[in-house]
């Protein structure tokens, strides 16, 4: 069995499962946020049960429109807060809050071998830990909060092998953008993706989270990494409950095996309006930008901020550009402060925000006017994603976003560091 099949079989109480099979699985964690959980809570009330299945395993994170950007956002956050108090379930208040997909792994709430059902499409992020994590809607999550179970169709698995060592300034974001460019936004529809190869073995956990985060942008249900020494090192000190490490079988059956040599991969950029509209940064064209956003559940981790600081150190953001940097969690923020990264950002005339999803989905903290262009380390560049339907979002990793903020147009880091 593949890694996904092994985890699902174990959570369905079966010896083995086959792609296409409909199963009921036990969820280790059920998660929602301030835009999906309000509907889930209302639906939960209609079920006529008084308690969630396990308060330690129901996690609500107001992060999208928080600190509350308007009255309705404040009311939605309050709904989550009141429900969590009533249930004794896990909740993160502003000041303690981070972006859900950054803090759940960081605090050991999600662990290897888990099944996670989250009311957010980027729940797939946790696949970096060797977990089966997938996004669902509010009604599914309402039922999962009550029963601790979700139904699933076992997905076929696409194995992707990356040969070679990545060049400098090329990371997880470039690998996943390149892959989406190769297979398309529905190239992995209904499937699980399983990542392996030399480039993956040497990839940091932060870069693995970035890759798993964006498998939904290829249509995948989940994206998984095998647990290795780096995973165990990451989990050590964070895990507060036992967990199980699953590995794919040597004779696992994959629906496709894709192999790429990435030893000469350039930093990648997704042009409007699709995450599959990929160019190497050298071929992105002469694109002037108005804004650069560095953060989000995709690239808001410490490793991302370190890369941005390497580029911005001693430099200034171009006067025509607003550079907005959003650490993904309080812990990331604090560590960035200790390491002097925040000072580097402020001296470079970047704005640094408290954790929030903010501009990524056009919420707040950096909405675009008509005709404006933004280079962003976020995950989607659909029409109107960050504001006006007449604005444009270009997706890239933190190195390209920071370099572009300095240059005022889309460039790779080597162009501003030479």
């Amino acid at each position: 069995m593949t890694l996904a099949e092994k985890i699902l079989a174990a959570h369905a109480g079966k010896d083995r499962v086959e792609p296409g099979e409909l199963i009921n699985v036990r969820a280790d964690v059920v998660m929602g946020n301030d835009i999906t959980a309000p509907i889930a809570i209302n639906e939960f009330r209609k079920l006529g049960v008084s308690k969630v299945f396990d308060p330690q395993r129901v996690v609500l994170v107001p992060d999208h429109f928080v600190p509350a950007k308007d009255i309705l956002s404040a009311e939605n956050a309050k709904l989550l807060r009141d429900f969590s108090r009533e249930q004794g379930s896990v909740f993160f208040e502003v000041g303690n809050m981070g972006i859900e997909h950054v803090i759940l792994p960081e605090l050991g709430l999600v662990l290897p071998g888990d099944v996670v059902a989250g009311a957010d499409s980027h729940t797939c992020t946790y696949g970096a830990l060797g977990a089966f994590a997938t996004g669902m809607g509010s009604t599914d999550i309402a039922c999962a909060m009550a029963t601790g179970e979700v139904w699933m169709k076992v997905p076929p698995t696409i194995k992707i092998v990356y040969h070679g060592q990545l060049p400098p300034w090329v990371g997880g974001k470039d690998l996943i953008l390149f892959t989406i460019g190769q297979i398309g936004v529905d190239g992995a529809i209904y499937s699980a993706m399983e990542f392996s190869g030399q480039a993956i073995e040497s990839l940091s956990m932060d870069s693995r989270f970035t890759m798993a985060n964006m498998v939904i942008e290829a249509g995948a249900k989940a994206g998984l990494f095998s647990v290795d020494a780096k995973t165990l090192e990451y989990v050590r000190g964070r895990a507060k409950r036992p967990y199980t490490v699953y590995q794919p079988d040597g004779d696992a059956r994959y629906s496709q095996v894709l192999e790429y040599d990435v030893s000469s991969l350039e930093p990648q950029v997704a042009l409007p309006h699709s995450p599959a509209n990929i160019r190497p940064v050298s071929q992105a064209g002469d694109i002037a930008i108005d804004q650069a956003v560095i953060g989000s559940c995709t690239n808001g981790r410490l490793g991302d901020l370190r890369i941005a600081a390497q580029v911005l150190r001693g430099k200034s953001v171009n006067p025509n550009v607003r550079c907005i940097i959003i650490p993904g969690s309080q812990e990331v923020y604090l560590q960035a402060l200790r390491e002097g990264l925040i000072e580097t950002f402020l001296r470079a005339r970047a704005a640094v925000s408290t954790p929030t999803c903010g501009p990524c989905l056009g919420g707040h903290m950096g909405i675009l006017a008509a005709g404006e262009r933004c280079i962003s380390t976020t995950n989607r560049n659909f029409v109107g994603r960050m504001g006006s339907p007449q604005s444009e979002v270009y997706l890239a990793g933190p190195a390209v976003a920071a370099a572009s903020a300095v240059a005022g147009r889309i460039v790779g880091p080597e162009e501003v560091l030479k």
Partner: protein, 164 residues
């Protein structure tokens, strides 16, 4: 019983940000969400659509976020069903969970905006009543039909839960 309505024909990869822009995710009421259905595609869509209309889309309809507000907005503005060549899995799941029928079928080439559509959920038969042309949708899996027959996932789960 077939349902009938006017067709709205869409291309490939209609994403959830276009179906319901992120700024409206503070809303959860079906009627309120319906006022902004497909606003990212055409701000005037809600003034042209009529209750009972049917969306006929292409590949990968509903891609992007998990926002249940996207199918709720379509239902809220009166869309009776969505037919598409393929769906993004979260949108498909959400649509059936909230009682918006979603049928997988390559039918877009048979329709123009405004054509009268007849759609039979049980048999998967989709007919253009203007041209007489017909397409056959993949049947909704029995497991999903159970959810629809129960009136959505909530009703299906409710009967199996202990009270209290």
């Amino acid at each position: 019983m077939p349902i009938t309505g006017r067709a709205w024909v869409f291309g490939d990869k209609v994403d959830t940000d276009v179906i319901l822009p992120g700024k409206y995710l503070v809303l959860s009421d079906e009627g309120e969400l319906g006022k902004h259905a497909l606003e990212g595609f055409d701000p005037g869509f809600v003034t042209k659509v009529q209750p009972g209309d049917i969306i006929v889309g292409g590949r990968y309809f509903g891609c992007g976020s998990s926002r249940e507000q996207a199918p709720v907005a379509l239902k809220g503005v009166g869309i009776a069903a969505v037919v598409a060549e393929t769906f993004a899995r979260i949108f498909y799941r959400n649509a059936l969970n909230i009682g918006l029928p979603a049928l997988e079928c390559r039918a877009r080439h048979l329709f123009q905006d405004g054509d009268p559509v007849s759609l039979n959920l049980e048999t998967g038969e989709i007919r253009n009543l203007r041209t007489g042309q017909m397409a056959q949708a993949k049947p909704i899996p029995p497991f999903m039909m159970d959810i629809i027959a129960a009136g959505g996932l909530m009703n299906k789960i409710r009967v199996s839960l202990p009270k209290g």
